[in-house]
């Protein structure tokens, strides 16, 4: 029984990470109707930006100047109103406040990055064949992956975690503080996404712009701005996901996200591509499912059964567990 609960907790911790990325995928799908293959790499890249901000060699966070490589003298510790912006050192990790500062700054950068990507790259292919936008996201995927490889190198780097104390003992199982934090953040984000789309006027506008651009244009909604907002917010959610995934998986590397992205897709589709609840539940289901297969069937079967089940579930519920059923119009 102890094993069962340990695997359950372990699966849920991994699943929460899938769920976080799936949440970003769901967000972008609802907001722009695009399946975003670049989501993982966008998250990875913004996480790297966060990583370089949190490093003591501060100028290194200015992307692509490369000054840090040769001018290590330019180490500084910027202070704002006497509050050191960089809190902690390379080895002992960030303090919680420092983490928060880095998080806020990075999410802001990611927000802008998402908006720019939409404006510059996605916009020209919108309203055309759906596949075009998907191929553009594949292009962004390759671009960001290679850029990170070039800029930061392929070697994994440690990443600070906000909560790093002992694991919390629940009696039946133990869970690390970071995993709990990730679960909580996933739940909070899930509720936030739900409230955004269901209860706010802005969210309604974003949804309308995705569902029927021309009609919502007539209703006075600035569809272009809504799409940009959709991408920006999805990038921000992805960034939060990345900053939680990196410490959970022993550091960040350019290829950090590919595996997560595949399981994230699986999670998002399992839960239903238009459901925030589905994303998180789907993620945890995939994570727990994998753990259980490893424990009770055999690890060789882990992927086979996990993905096979997803196909099977989709055959029974074509729009996922929580997705709105497709309406056939005549």
């Amino acid at each position: 029984m102890e094993t069962f609960f340990a695997q359950l907790a372990n699966g849920a911790s991994t699943g929460a990470l899938y769920g976080l990325l799936a949440l970003a995928l769901v967000f972008i799908f609802r907001a722009t109707d695009v399946v975003n293959f670049a989501q993982g790499e966008m998250a990875m890249f913004s996480t790297y930006l966060g990583w370089s901000i949190s490093r003591p060699l501060s100028l290194s966070w200015i992307p692509f100047l490369g000054v840090d490589r040769h001018l290590n003298l330019l180490t500084w510790r910027p202070e704002v109103f006497g509050l050191p912006l960089y809190l902690g050192s390379e080895n002992d990790g960030l303090t919680r406040l420092g983490y928060l500062v880095v998080l806020v700054v990075t999410v802001a950068i990611a927000f802008v990055m998402g908006a720019l990507i939409e404006r510059l790259l996605i916009r020209p292919s919108e309203g055309k064949n759906l596949l075009n936008a998907v191929i553009v996201t594949l292009g962004i995927f390759a671009f960001l992956n290679s850029l990170a490889n070039f800029r930061y190198g392929p070697v994994p780097q440690t990443y600070p975690a906000p909560f790093r104390g002992d694991a919390v003992d629940f009696g039946l199982f133990k869970m690390s503080q970071h995993s709990l934090f990730a679960l909580v953040v996933a739940a909070v984000l899930m509720i936030a996404v739900y409230v955004f789309f269901q209860r706010t006027k802005l969210g309604l506008g974003v949804r309308a712009a995705a569902l029927n651009p021309s009609a919502s244009q007539l209703m006075g909604i600035n569809t272009g701005r809504m799409l940009t907002l959709g991408w920006a917010l999805a990038a921000a959610i992805g960034c939060v996901a990345g900053m939680l995934i990196a410490p959970a998986l022993s550091g960040i590397s350019p290829n950090l996200m590919f595996g997560i992205l595949l399981y994230g897709f699986a999670a998002a589709v399992l839960g239903g591509l238009d459901s925030a609840l589905g994303a998180v539940v789907g993620g945890i289901a995939v994570g727990v499912g994998q753990s259980m297969v490893v424990q009770y069937v055999g690890s060789q079967w882990s992927d086979i059964i996990a993905f096979g089940l997803i196909i099977a579930i989709l055959m029974v519920r074509p729009t996922g567990l929580f997705g709105a059923p497709a309406v056939k119009k005549v």
Binding site: V134, V136, L138, A142, F143, A266, V269, D303, F307, I310
Partner: protein, 486 residues
């Protein structure tokens, strides 16, 4: 969304008007000679220019007389026949064989994703199933390769119908992920201990490559170009690669012709009808589920052939060979780049699939430290093509082609006069930079590039103009032309 060139009798004509031929010939030669990197670049560059000029002149003069695709088909086929003698070495011949292999795969994807509109990310698994069945039968049970191929292709087709079943219930991204899951299941299945005795597990299966029958081999060895193939090993390789190339070419040509025929038959129309409106298609008497599954089945038939050809050319299968990105995602991306739901698009796509990474690798290597950026370059290329030529390269070429030539010439001048002096200054600056760079790196290829631009000014430039036009929506084409092409 696709555009087809239609002539007066309403028959969809396959392929190229002169401009397309010139562009294609230039593209092919450019990549070819470029990557060849033979010692005498000057000769290569010059001969490319000559070929392009001849192709253009012939094309222009033939256009009126031979407004019939058969001539172009023949011409293309003849060029394809002498490919082993055009290539600088056997490696290039081998790559051309793989162009045929992946063309077959992309033909299949075109049926299911291009015509029928069902996104499939699982075709890598289909290629893998075919290749593995052939490998197992021929290396474990000593079957004749061609007999094994029959079985492999049939089984793959059957699997294609199975893969099509989700298409009956799933749509759009859900189907894409379901097929993706199928592709992800495949490699771990091969590695399972249960099947290891048959599949060779992680080590994969080797097969000696098919060598040409005696007379063919000696013929090819005798006629190998002597400057490129000096010793016996090279000549033997030449014979082997050429033989495999002709087999793949035969498969590729059959694939191309059948795809083209299918596209303009009631099946092609029904596939597009299913994609555009299922309800209307049903009312017109089309059994939508049947056609969806049929599309997957036909597509798997192509994938099965691709797997067979893959096995012949690569002669090695391992679970890692059938990874998601290389065999499922990239072919789809290059299909879209080539042009969805067209006949020529997949061919362009297959060329791109094999040659773009090599050309980009070359660029990256030349630029020294930036070899890690080749992924970024590929990504940029995908983005640029998709945003600037939303209907793919083939669609873009067709679009240019549909315009009348005189009008284009006139338009080009009008366009030129409408640009601001600033624009021309910028262009001149860019040109100066280009020339300067050419000065530093070498002139032969700069001359070649410039020659290309001078030889086909209207056509090539209007292609570029098409790009520029998108950047400058202020410039509108004559309305009547617009109606013609949209």
């Amino acid at each position: 969304m696709h555009q087809t060139a239609h002539y007066r009798d309403g028959v969809e004509r396959f392929v190229p008007s002169p401009s397309e031929a010139v562009l294609l010939a230039a593209l092919v030669l450019f990549c070819w000679k470029l990557y060849g990197g033979t010692e005498n670049d000057a000769v290569a560059g010059l001969s490319s220019v000559v070929v392009v000029v001849v192709a253009w002149v012939v094309g222009v003069s033939l256009r009126a007389a031979l407004n019939d695709m058969r001539w172009w088909l023949l011409l293309g086929f003849l060029v394809a026949l002498i490919v082993p003698w055009l290539g600088a070495n056997t490696f290039q011949v081998g790559v051309m064989s793989q162009v045929c292999v992946f063309a077959l795969l992309i033909f299949g994807l075109n049926v299911v994703t291009g015509y029928t509109g069902q996104i499939s990310l699982g075709h890598g698994a289909l290629v893998g199933i075919s290749a593995y069945i052939i490998a197992i039968l021929s290396s474990n049970y000593g079957w004749n390769v061609f007999a094994a191929m029959t079985v492999g292709i049939s089984v793959t087709t059957a699997f294609g119908f199975v893969l099509g079943i989700p298409a009956l219930r799933l749509a759009g991204p859900y189907l894409a992920i379901a097929t993706l899951a199928a592709a992800l299941i495949f490699p771990p299945l091969l590695k399972l201990d249960t099947f290891e005795d048959y599949t060779g597990g992680i080590q994969g299966l080797h097969e000696t490559r098919l060598s040409p029958p005696g007379p063919i081999e000696s013929f090819l060895k005798e006629h190998a170009p002597s400057d490129a193939y000096q010793n016996d090993f090279q000549r033997r390789k030449f014979a082997e690669e050429s033989y495999l190339y002709y087999i793949s070419l035969a498969a590729g040509v059959v694939g191309l012709v059948t795809l083209w025929n299918l596209g303009r038959s009631r099946f092609g129309r029904a596939f597009v009808a299913v994609r555009d409106s299922e309800v209307a298609a049903t009312s017109m008497g089309i059994n939508v589920p049947l056609y969806k599954v049929t599309a997957f089945g036909i597509s798997a038939l192509y994938a099965g052939f691709a797997g067979a050809a893959f096995f012949l050319v690569i002669a090695f299968v391992a679970p890692e060979s059938f990874d998601l990105v290389n065999l499922s995602i990239n072919p789809l991306a290059y299909l879209v780049i080539g042009g969805l739901a067209t006949t020529g698009g997949p061919v362009v796509g297959a060329f791109g699939y094999m040659w773009v990474p090599r050309v980009i690798n070359k660029i990256a290597t030349v630029s020294g430290d930036f070899d890690k950026l080749q992924g970024a370059m590929t990504g940029l290329l995908l983005i640029v093509v998709m945003t600037r030529l939303p209907q793919g390269v083939w669609g873009g070429v067709r679009r240019v082609n549909a315009l009348s030539w005189q009008r284009l010439a006139g338009d080009s001048w009008a366009w030129a006069f409408q640009r601001s002096p600033l624009f021309w200054a910028g262009l001149a600056l860019a040109a100066v930079v280009v020339v300067l760079i050419a000065q530093f790196i070498g002139t032969v290829w700069a001359v070649f590039a410039l020659a290309l631009l001078i030889v086909a000014p209207h056509d090539v430039w209007s292609g570029a103009g098409d790009v520029l036009r998108r950047l400058n929506p202020g410039w509108k084409r004559n309305a009547s032309i617009q109606a013609d092409v949209t």
